[in-house]
Symmetry: C2
Subunit: 205 residues, 2 copies
């Protein structure tokens, strides 16, 4: 729709917001008008936070997680188990796993998964640097924690091939029915697999 | 949920986004990571557009629409009918009506509707300046184009009281079933009203 803006400044701000994924024209307008109602200092702070982030952000030299320092807080933490490396797609996955408080090892952020449809090949990801980390020694287990999708599985398999003779244990996170899922709505692949891969019940889950 | 960010800069940018209405933490993260993948110049342009807008934006001295100039393009346009003023809640409504290409008069942007629940009273809106515009003369018709809600109707009634002796024709936009609405799903107030307020059909809609 050819919108008729009464202000070129407004139009520019709305168009910038509308470039963001999942933000349509109407939402962009609503967000911009919300910002207009805030103090100038709040808007300044918003704009500055983005510019500063882009300008100053670093990626951990070891695991490629976003970091304010050369090596991220997790990789620099001696209390973590540096012999176990969990391979994830992106930094949201690191945060999700950290939030479980169930993992005390370190990470390796690939920056995506292999996806020929999207033009993402192995060389676009931090796979070679993972192979390098393993080759340096000191790593006993590599946990593949990618999404259970076709792209995730392709990437799992590719990494497996690269590491199978590297002398490390290669594991993959468990798949099955999710906590609180209703069985009748669970897809048949997941459900079938959860039956085939059933585990001995010891009175504790 | 207590998110564990690996970067304070990242956390700040995400928190700024998450302050926006309708943007939760996960969406904020997704948007920030999207911006991080863009060129520095694109992020700079985004931040700058917001700061510039907030700093330089003006409101039309006549109709209170957002404008880059003292008087907006519509109010300054001699081809528009300045004897007809359409009263709307906000600038999105101006844009929506302009997009219909059915209106050639001018506008008056209230900046909201009377809503005691939200602490918005008549003095918070541009109602006095509307009364002033009418008192100056030259206006023949005031069209009330507020949302057909309780707050919109309260505001319609308040403005009606203020203008009923001002010697202008006061009209309100038509209410009835919307184009392409399915009758069976139309609410009963709208449907009942559309029957009571039926118009003579001349073979043309």
């Amino acid at each position: 729709m050819d919108q008729l803006y009464s202000s070129a400044l407004l139009e520019k701000a709305v168009n910038e917001f509308a470039k963001l994924p999942g933000i349509g024209g109407k939402t962009a307008m609503r967000l911009v008008l919300h910002l207009l109602r805030q103090d100038a200092s709040a808007v300044e702070s918003f704009g500055q936070a983005l510019v500063t982030l882009k300008h100053d952000v670093k990626y951990c030299a070891v695991c490629h997680n976003i970091s304010d320092t050369e090596v991220c807080g997790i990789c620099a933490d001696n209390r973590r188990d540096h012999t176990t490396v969990c391979v994830v797609e992106n930094i949201q996955d690191v945060m999700a796993i950290e939030n479980t408080q169930q993992y005390k090892g370190v990470y390796h952020v690939l920056g995506g998964v292999i996806s020929p449809m999207d033009g993402v090949g192995p060389s676009d990801l931090q796979i070679q640097s993972l192979v390098g980390r393993v080759a340096e020694g000191g790593i006993r287990e590599v946990i593949l924690a990618l999404s259970p999708t076709m792209e995730g599985d392709t990437t799992n398999f590719y990494i497996y091939r690269k590491l199978e003779n590297a002398g490390v244990r290669i594991t993959v996170i468990a798949r099955g029915v999710a906590q609180n899922d209703e069985l009748q709505y669970t897809d048949e692949v997941t459900l079938g697999r959860s039956i085939v891969n059933r585990v001995v019940f010891t009175g504790k889950l």
